[in-house]
């Protein structure tokens, strides 16, 4: 090999790299990205989110490494594929290769020179990226980012480039080169980045359920080319504390280096294969006679072309020529393009890729509490829409550009552009043919969805949702994009510049989607949550927004088509004339002519901007709520409030018009020792024609931006009452969302959901904390003293005292209208139904839910469900029955006659346990998927049913840790019910599930002891639900069944009737007398409630030895976490939960130990059988981290 020639091959390509438009586009993207990310839009989830708390630095090596794993795939991959994959093809198209290879330049020198040039160019870009990141992170001032900037360390920026960037670069360059050389097809080159993006983005990076085998997880870490899965699974998922991430270097391990090694090996192999391919093509391919025959090549030399006939004169052929028709031209171009398209292998490679991707995502989707989701055609169509859209957009980009480029690269442009075929017809024909690409992807996705539904074997397939979502809604996106790409190509006339601009547009849109800045007005691909499906009724809240958005996009497509036709250069433009054409007058005239096409999209965009601004997440709404907050916070926060003595309300709902009317009264009584001079009520922002009364007379309260202040004639002394009445009408929801966000309460044809948490059908007593708070005016949550729970504490939500209620609901006759209590009247008149609900036992908060349902009666329970969702109703009904029965027995007899559970559309994804009237989003319970390990339906039903006791009968205090007595107790109740109904395995699987969830979501530095949790931090939720449920169960286990339940019964009985509301400390104090060993009880409480105990067990040195009778297993167990708990270690053999048909083979032998933080103990377990495994905590009785690693094979 001659290094001089190698250097020449390198040098020419290296210089060319810096002249490529793509190169500059990527540089610009990196600059913009660095600027955007320097304000902390992407950071490690760790740290103390309180004001002044230590935050995760974006400048740490960890943060830069994480960023690099995303950027390398999302940005670099496409550009590398383009540069490397088309590099040799370019030489071939320009026929330079013929000349190059007629010199002494060898294939090795040629290929390696090119490879080194491309990698060198991107290394320069990566170093540029380092410089730009450092500049924006350390030089450009940004006061709001002070907390997240650490000191400058060159290592933090350079090491990720070396460990993440370089191996990926080698890998992608090598593979792109061999793909480009082997296929000689520009489109095929894009298979690699598209496939990698799909597989990584929608699978490798995101799919890691708690039950995944550790070996499989490690395999996935090894094959992820970006290295993100390794980083996340090994170092980020389980929070190690912000100090660790900020100050430590990334500790690369053997698994990581294995991952890097195989990337390098594959990349180098790619280059070697390219070299071989080039060498072979130079010698000429040797083909068999059969291949020769099929290609029409003369099978043997020496056969001459037959003697040509001279024929009649040309004039005798009677040829005529005229302008071909538009449609026939389109058809001709489309036909020829299709021929070319269908012989492209790329399309056939994408089909199985899509099948696997869509199938995988469909079957592995999770919902509430990480429970698997039951797919329906509509949910499936929406769920994979984002993937489908991305894939189609990328494919359309590549196919469109290459299709437009084809005439130039083949040389046919010189002939074809001189034909009378209209430019519009020519472009339209190509677009029609390329649209087949979109159709193929959609068809493959449809097949995959059908297979997924088939495998699921529960919900039947229906084509209608796919036709609506993928057909009607997504096709305008594809048309728009094709027109846009065509216009770009027509404007720049260059394949690389076209890719650069189009990819930049995609990346920008994607960035705005991920940062949630995008709205309907800019969401041309319908990404994010724009498409929210409910089987009960589709797109009801944002139908107008969708229509306007699609009109905008279609109009935009027409505009870009006109622009493309105008700009497409069939005739080479003259430079001088072009300058004249840019004169303002000429330009203005041209703009006017095109302007007509822009009118419709512009008009639609304007209306959308207006609608979003005035919608329920728009600027107008934000201002109104902010005014409410600003005007009332200081005066009315924690102001004394009266109790509700009675509620009488009549609500009329008109689902078709999204309208409702409310008229009612509150009877309010002063239950406080002090007098009440004024009573504040919060009204709704969308209340129209509002009228108030006080004690039956018309009254005008002081209106403080929707906080209405009533001043009775005389201040209310203790026991005095006043009756406040209201009447109003309005719409719910008011306007459209920003980009398809959740709508928690609504009046829609698919269902009605109204709650007393919001002023949706009733005023809310007092000032509503949190309303009007944004990140700009967000204050840190009030810090309560640890003894705040002493004395009288207010209710965390709902009313302080119980009250009776009468709720009359009127709506269309086909609806069932559910309220609290029992239905005392149900009449239909004039097409309207009126149901009157009266509480048979007082309640503390009201709700209304309506729908067109079927019913399933249980024992004192009723399930109201949509006829389309019968799948889990039996299980829900039996669970609700079991919950009512056993919770009544364990905690307190259920005080109400009826317990209802009603389904509502998945415009919101929650379930709420209002007294007697539980509401479930269709995605919870009704559409959960159950298997032997996870009975998700049982889980969610049991949890929500438990709220009748924990949350309604007993309402926790307004203050820190109160919510444990609601959510934590609900999870605890579910654990008990699992054990009772499903057996030990059911409880254990559920316990492991929530333990794993807690481990994934906790943030070590942000987590406070249970006593201090107030629900204001992001990480509080998992502590309340998962840790809370576990701790209560461990306490129950520690105290013993009878003692624990006795304590709980007394606790709930005492506090349910009191004006005082319990905090966790009250609970702990209440349970203590029932503990067998108060000292041990106090120690448990200290560790788990006051501190943050979290054991983590490791087994080392486990081995078995045969003895005379059986086996001895010796091992050492170490608690690498915190907390001191008794724990059992079992040596086992066989499958513990064998299928019923199988012979039970499980055997075990146990020992118990107590390990504190950092302690270890060696022990020996005697077995009469040959064990194959050692399991710490086999009965899942101790909450711990990384449970899977506490099981070892022998």
């Amino acid at each position: 090999m001659s290094f001089r020639r190698l250097a020449a091959s390198f040098g020419i390509e290296f210089k060319h790299t810096f002249r490529r438009p793509l190169f500059f586009f990527l540089a610009v993207i990196l600059i913009l990205s660095a600027w955007g990310l320097s304000s902390g839009k992407m950071s490690i989830s760790s740290g103390d989110s309180s004001v002044g708390g230590t935050k995760a630095w974006i400048t740490s090596e960890f943060a830069q490494t994480q960023m690099m794993t995303f950027i390398i795939l999302l940005y670099y991959a496409f550009f590398i594929a383009k540069a490397a994959g088309l590099m040799l093809l370019r030489d071939h198209e320009t026929q330079v290769d013929v000349l190059l290879h007629s010199t002494p330049l060898t294939p090795r020198e040629y290929v390696w020179g090119r490879f080194l040039a491309v990698t060198g160019g991107f290394v320069v870009l990566m170093l540029f990226q380092v410089a730009v990141n450092a500049f924006f992170n350390h030089v450009v001032p940004n006061p709001s980012a002070q907390d997240i900037r650490g000191p400058f360390l060159l290592r933090s920026y350079l090491v990720p480039v070396l460990t993440i960037g370089l191996p990926f670069l080698v890998f992608f360059t090598g593979l792109s080169m061999v793909l480009g050389e082997r296929t000689r097809n520009a489109v095929m080159v894009f298979v690699l980045p598209v496939a990698t993006l799909l597989v990584c983005g929608f699978f490798l990076w995101t799919w890691s359920p708690s039950w995944l085998d550790l070996r499989v997880n490690k395999l996935f870490q090894v094959i992820d080319p970006a290295g993100y899965r390794w980083l996340n699974e090994t170092l980020l998922k389980v929070d190690r504390g912000v100090d660790y991430y900020n100050k430590h270097a990334v500790p690369y391990d053997a698994l990581f280096w294995l991952n890097r090694a195989w990337l390098l090996i594959l990349g180098i192999a790619g280059v070697l294969l390219t070299e071989r391919a080039v060498a072979q093509s130079l010698r000429g391919a040797v083909i068999s006679k059969r291949q020769a025959k099929s290609r029409g090549v003369a099978p043997a030399a020496g056969i001459l072309a037959p003697e040509p006939a001279h024929g009649a004169p040309l004039a005798g052929l009677g040829m005529t020529g005229r302008q071909p028709g538009f449609l026939s031209s389109v058809a001709t171009v489309a036909r020829t393009e299709l021929r070319e398209l269908l012989r492209q292998p790329g399309l056939y490679i994408f089909i199985p890729l899509i099948l696997v991707q869509v199938l995988g995502n469909s079957l592995l989707a999770v919902g509430a509490f990480d429970t698997p989701v039951l797919l329906t055609p509509g949910t499936s169509a929406v769920q994979i829409a984002n993937q489908v859209i991305l894939l189609v957009l990328l494919l359309l980009l590549f196919y469109t550009v290459e299709s437009l480029e084809r005439e130039r690269t083949t040389g046919l442009s010189q002939i074809l552009y001189a034909t009378p075929c209209r430019t519009a017809a020519f472009l339209a024909g190509k677009a029609v043919a390329n649209s087949v690409v979109a159709l193929v992807v959609l068809a493959a996705s449809l097949v995959a969805s059908w297979i997924a539904l088939l495998v699921q074997h529960t919900v039947p397939f229906s084509f209608a949702p796919y036709a609506l979502i993928w057909g009607l809604l997504l096709i305008p996106t594809f048309l728009f994009w094709t027109a846009f790409v065509t216009a770009i190509y027509a404007a720049v006339g260059n394949r690389y510049a076209s890719y650069g601009i189009a990819l930049s547009a995609l990346i920008y849109t994607g960035f705005r989607t991920l940062t949630r800045e995008i709205s309907w007005a800019g969401n041309w691909p319908l990404w994010g949550r724009a498409l929210r499906w409910s089987d009960l009724g589709f797109f009801e809240t944002d139908r107008l927004a969708l229509v306007l958005n699609r009109v905008m996009v279609l109009g935009g497509a027409v505009f870009f088509v006109a622009l493309a036709v105008k700009l497409f250069e069939r005739r080479g433009a003259d430079a001088v004339r072009t300058i004249h054409r840019l004169a303002p007058r000429t330009l203005g005239a041209a703009a006017l002519r095109l302007g007509g096409f822009a009118l419709v999209p512009l008009a639609a965009w304007t209306v959308l901007v207006f609608q979003v601004t005035n919608g329920l997440e728009g600027g107008v709404f934000k201002k109104e709520t902010k005014d409410y907050w600003a005007k009332n916070l200081k005066t009315w926060l924690d102001a004394p409030l009266p109790d509700i003595a009675r509620v009488d309300v009549a609500v009329t709902v008109d689902p078709k018009r999204h309208a409702l009317r409310s008229a009612g009264t509150f009877t309010l009584v002063n239950g406080l020792d002090s007098t009440l001079a004024q009573i504040p009520l919060t009204g709704g922002l969308d209340w129209n024609h509002l009228k108030w009364t006080m004690d039956g007379k018309a009254y005008e309260p002081e209106d403080r931006k929707h906080l209405f202040v009533f001043t009775p004639e005389r201040p209310l002394a203790k026991g005095d009452s006043v009756v406040i009445g209201w009447k109003w009408d309005g719409f719910l929801p008011r306007g459209i969302t920003k980009n398809g966000g959740n709508t928690d309460e609504f009046v829609l044809p698919s269902g009605v959901v109204l709650t007393g948490f919001e002023p949706s059908f009733l005023p809310v007593i007092g000032f509503m904390e949190g309303v009007g708070e944004t990140k700009d005016n967000k204050t840190e949550a009030r810090k309560y003293p640890r003894d705040y729970w002493k004395g009288i504490t207010r209710a965390g939500y709902g009313a302080t005292a119980w009250f009776p209620a009468r709720v009359a609901i009127t709506g269309p006759a086909e609806y069932t209208l559910n309220g609290p209590g029992v239905c005392t009247s149900n009449t239909v008149k004039g097409g309207l139904r009126t149901q009157v609900w009266e509480t048979d036992h007082p309640i503390k908060i009201l709700n209304i839910v309506c729908g067109k349902w079927k019913t399933k009666q249980g024992h004192g329970t009723t399930i109201y469900y949509d006829p389309a969702h019968p799948y889990n109703v039996e299980e829900m009904s039996s669970t609700l029955d079991a919950a009512r029965h056993w919770y009544s027995e364990w905690f307190l007899p259920y005080p109400w006659r009826e317990l209802k559970l009603s389904e509502f559309p998945a415009l919101a994804g929650y379930a709420q346990g209002f007294g007697t009237n539980i509401t479930f989003s269709e995605n919870m319970g009704f559409l959960t998927k159950n298997d032997a390990k996870t009975d998700a339906t049982f889980l969610v039903t049991a949890h929500e049913a438990a709220h009748q006791w924990w949350g309604n009968i007993l309402t926790p205090a307004n203050g820190p840790n109160g919510d444990f007595l609601s959510e934590g107790m609900a999870h605890f109740s579910t654990l008990l019910l699992f054990e009772k109904v499903k057996g030990a395995r059911g409880r254990m699987e559920f316990a492991k599930g929530i333990e794993s969830r807690y481990g994934d979501r906790r943030r070590v530095d942000d987590e406070r002891p249970m006593y201090d949790i107030d629900g204001k931090r992001e990480s509080d939720e998992t502590v309340m639900y998962d840790r809370g449920g576990w701790v209560f169960w461990m306490l129950y286990d520690f105290m013993g069944h009878d003692r624990a339940l006795a304590g709980l019964q007394r606790f709930i009985r005492t506090w349910s009737e009191s004006r005082d509301h319990p905090a966790l400390q009250d609970f702990v104090a209440s349970m203590r007398p029932y503990a067998r060993d108060p000292v041990a009880y106090d120690a448990f409480v200290k560790e788990w409630f006051e501190d943050r105990a979290m054991p983590e067990y490791r087994v080392t040195g486990a081995k078995k030895e045969k003895r005379a009778q059986g086996y001895d297993v010796t091992l050492t167990v170490r608690n690498t976490g915190t907390g001191r708990m008794p724990v059992e270690i079992a040596a086992t053999s066989g499958e513990r939960w064998a299928k019923p048909s199988k012979e039970p083979s499980y055997r075990e032998s146990r020992e118990g130990i107590v390990l504190g933080a950092g302690e270890s103990k060696a022990l020996t377990i005697h077995c009469s059988f040959s064990p194959d495994k050692v399991v710490v905590d086999p009965d899942v009785r101790v909450l711990q981290l990384n449970r899977k690693q506490a099981t070892v094979s022998l």
Partner: protein
């Protein structure tokens, strides 16, 4: 009639490719001669509507074809100098595709027409073969087939015989001549012989300017009697070049067999008068910048009708004597 006035094309650089071309081309064959880079292809592309001129006008039968090239294209048959096809189509499909886009119709149907055209250019045997497997000459013939299709008023062929063997060249000459009877055929080439054979009139472009418009006969007549042929030693050739216009010098057995233009009537020793060829006239023109006064004409019209055919008839004879 095809008329151009003041046609200028300046590329960024600046590079002046055409520097004001005034030309009238009547019906029939018309040749455009010039060296490589003279501006012939630029001129052709402008006329074919594929390149925008910097300034100037061009009309076809009184209609401005530069303002709206789309009005020209239905009446145009164009064979560019460099072109290609979709490699994975076969010859038949490619030709059919182009004929459709050109709006070509025939009483026997387009499929039959395609077969006929392929037969005319001797490609019937390869009709079903992928274009990827076509030789350069076969591609050229297919290009010719699509250029001749339809009923074009103006046919522009740029270096049409590149890659063709002698038999195919003759076949092509015949086809072109058939068409030239009642339409304008503009033939651009740097092969003098093509012009000599086919074109009753031709123009010469040099460095973007029109140097002359004449006929083969006139051109030859302008130097008649002044062409001599002889043998010189290799080391004497440079001196000969310095003293006289050498129109040809071929090395044969170690000595240069040279042809010179000497209007003085006193050629060097060893040189004898030789029959004048159009190539001699072209080379003298390129050296002098104009043809000698005797027999030279300015911008003119009217080639003799049937001139092209008559020229073709004599070309078969001349081809054997002048090549």
């Amino acid at each position: 009639m095809l008329e151009t006035r003041g046609l200028v094309k300046v590329y960024p650089g600046p590079v002046t490719a055409l520097n004001g071309i005034d030309l009238d081309v009547p019906s029939g064959m018309f040749g455009l001669l010039g060296a490589n880079g003279a501006g012939k292809s630029t001129f052709m592309k402008i006329l074919a509507g594929l390149l925008e001129p910097t300034s100037g006008t061009a009309t076809l039968d009184g209609e401005n074809i530069l303002e709206s090239p789309e009005t020209l294209w239905p009446r145009l048959g164009y064979l560019p100098q460099e072109f290609g096809f979709y490699p994975h189509l076969n010859g038949e499909t490619m030709l059919d595709h182009l004929l459709t886009l050109k709006g070509v119709h025939a009483p026997q149907g387009r499929k039959r027409l395609v077969a006929e055209l392929l037969e005319r250019v001797n490609l019937s045997f390869a009709a079903k073969r992928s274009l990827k497997g076509y030789s350069g000459g076969m591609r050229q013939r297919l290009g010719i087939a699509q250029a001749l299709a339809g009923n074009p008023r103006l046919i522009i062929v740029d270096e049409p015989t590149a890659g063709l063997d002698p038999e195919e060249r003759l076949r092509f000459y015949r086809l072109l001549s058939e068409l030239a009877v009642d339409r304008i055929v503009l033939l651009s080439t740097h092969i003098v012989e093509d012009v000599a054979v086919l074109c009753p009139r031709f123009a010469v472009i040099r460095a973007g300017r029109l140097v002359t418009v004449t006929s083969p006969g006139e051109a030859r007549a302008s130097i008649a009697g002044h062409i001599y042929e002889g043998v010189v030693n290799v080391e004497d050739l440079p001196r000969l070049r310095g003293e006289r216009i050498v129109t040809q010098a071929i090395l044969v057995e170690g000595k240069d067999r040279a042809r010179i233009y000497d209007p003085s009537g006193s050629p060097p020793d060893g040189f004898a008068p030789a029959p004048v060829t159009l190539e001699d006239a072209y080379l003298v023109l390129m050296r002098l910048g104009a043809l000698p006064a005797r027999g030279r004409r300015g911008v003119s019209q009217v080639p003799p009708a049937g001139g092209a055919e008559a020229a073709l008839a004599s070309a078969s004879t001349e081809a054997g004597t002048t090549s």
